[in-house]
Symmetry: C2
Subunit: 335 residues, 2 copies
């Protein structure tokens, strides 16, 4: 860097720091309740060098479940929609599948029919649409799909359906030196295809259910990897802390979830020394999003179950409950 460049860098930083939204509220979509206060207090305590709870920069790890915590998970996980939508391309490449179930049902009834399939059939579709191609081709295909696909209930792109208050938390934590990770039961390769543009989270900060790959060479002798149907990590329930250890290798200081699949991640986080914070998003807002549970007597659904037992554990252990209805001034960026 020349001295002139250096001068310009300093000038730019000076402008950003002094004239930028100096005292704007980084969590402006949050009501000034207990949840917001807990998040702000956590950040202030762990980033103040004079605090006994100070956390060195290299240990500032924050983890977030995705489905139901960062974006809408109803009526079904986004990845399942992708797999169903991909069936026509799969059948085109392997025409013999057209006569076989469950492909036949999806070919005639589309996504709506696919969503009614039994779990066994969905798994069959997922395995065949998520493996066998190169990692590069898969990522490009997911990126292309997510750029135009819509949630059928909301008639909006899936990427519009992230929660504005959670996007603020991601940004706020990053501005305070935290590396923000997604730790999802969904496919690691799937989420990595859109995490940067959707959440500002690079591929290496996504931990998810992961299958093995096989190294090989294409016809021009170029090295590439093929996605295989060989499970390495089932990143849900106890698999979440195991995945955190495998990919991150450090215990998070703060973790966010919304369902029983996040229980062990929150337990693992809070079992570390010093200040640790666990938070659960409650879907208790039937007007603006959904109300499902079944904690608090809300209906159970196919996805994102928050059991009464986990709810009780959260209360007992002082985890922070985030009520969509009461803690969020707005749910989505488009509101």
């Amino acid at each position: 860097m020349s001295n002139t460049q250096r001068f310009h860098s300093v000038a730019a930083l000076l402008l950003a720091l002094l004239c930028g939204a100096a005292d704007a509220d980084p969590l402006e979509s949050w009501d000034d309740g207990a949840a917001k206060k807990a998040i702000v207090a956590f950040v202030e305590k762990t980033t103040d060098k004079t605090s006994p709870d100070f956390v060195p920069l290299e240990e500032r790890i924050a983890t977030f479940d995705q489905d139901g915590t960062l974006w809408v998970e109803q009526p079904m996980y986004v990845q399942v929609m992708y797999c169903i939508d991909r069936v026509p391309a799969l059948v085109k490449a392997r025409p013999s599948l057209a006569a076989d179930e469950p492909y036949k049902t999806v070919m005639s009834g589309g996504r709506a029919a696919g969503l009614k399939l039994r779990e066994y059939d969905l798994i069959k579709i997922m395995e065949s649409t998520l493996t066998g191609m190169s990692t590069d081709a898969f990522r490009a295909d997911v990126a292309k799909w997510i750029a135009q696909a819509k949630n059928s209930s909301w008639k909006r792109p899936f990427t519009d359906l992230t929660y504005a208050p959670m996007q603020e938390v991601l940004k706020y934590l990053r501005e305070n030196g935290y590396r923000t990770y997604i730790v999802t039961g969904g496919g690691q390769d799937f989420v990595r295809a859109y995490s940067q543009q959707t959440y500002g989270i690079p591929p290496e900060q996504v931990v998810g259910t992961a299958a093995g790959t096989t190294f090989g060479y294409d016809k021009n002798g170029k090295a590439f990897l093929t996605k295989e149907p060989r499970l390495l990590l089932n990143d849900d329930n106890a698999g979440k802390p195991e995945g955190i250890h495998l990919v991150i290798g450090q215990r998070p200081h703060i973790a966010f979830g919304n369902s029983i699949g996040d229980q062990q991640m929150l337990e693992y986080t809070t079992a570390g020394g010093g200040v640790r914070l666990a938070l659960l998003v409650l879907h208790d807002d039937a007007r603006r999003e959904y109300a499902y549970g079944p904690a608090q007597g809300l209906p159970d659904t196919k996805v994102g179950t928050l059991s009464q037992a986990l709810y009780d554990e959260a209360i007992k252990k002082g985890w922070i409950l985030i009520s969509m209805q009461n803690d969020w001034k707005r749910v989505f960026g488009f509101e």
Copy 2:
């Protein structure tokens, strides 16, 4: 941040940028040869926004093999020394092992005897000393060991035996927005225990041979993970690109290795689009470090073999050969 704090931050940055070692050579331990020129040209091209080879910040990934690339790997990999040194503690905890081989040999002959064991016996020792404990206990034990253990040939702490020119490259790349990763055939958990203080590389930027863990609760109900003898990733040869995909999820733009275990990582790196750089460290300096190969007719050793075939591939593909003898003004920081 208050405006006063902000002013102090800006003042500190200004001082650092303007008065710091402004035009100091970031690669001062390197001779001004082809290797250094290639590294500098790569960084300048990929970080200049006006260059057709510009790489966005979020894609700047650099990977480094450890043993023989970042530090000395003779007379044996450091991790193997750890496992042998740990035998007495293991036998103390499980006294019945004292009468069994290979433990008996190590108990009477120490590290020197351990290093003469057959590979089969070493693997037995590694499995028993690297699994069965909590991930926290293991990390603490490695950190304690590495703080005092020495390389018997060099009579120095292992952490003194990192290559000064490579430490400079790590720092130089980081200062230019690259995330520097270790991608090692060694144990991921092992290297993560000392990577931060030894290389400035945090645990999550170490990819290595990884075994599974199991989630559980201790007697106080606290969540923890136990290290299991269940291999998830053999991070050597083809396992290196597979490990890079698993943990990083992006193809590196620059990669450094020194042996046949690094071949596929270098091939995978250079098969990406745009400017990519692959580099091989040659151990051709018998005076200051070692000379082994067997490329260039140097003797083969137990570890870190650079085959003639890989050497030829490097020449053919225009990879950069780093000659310790000719490219490095000094090898170690203590010189």
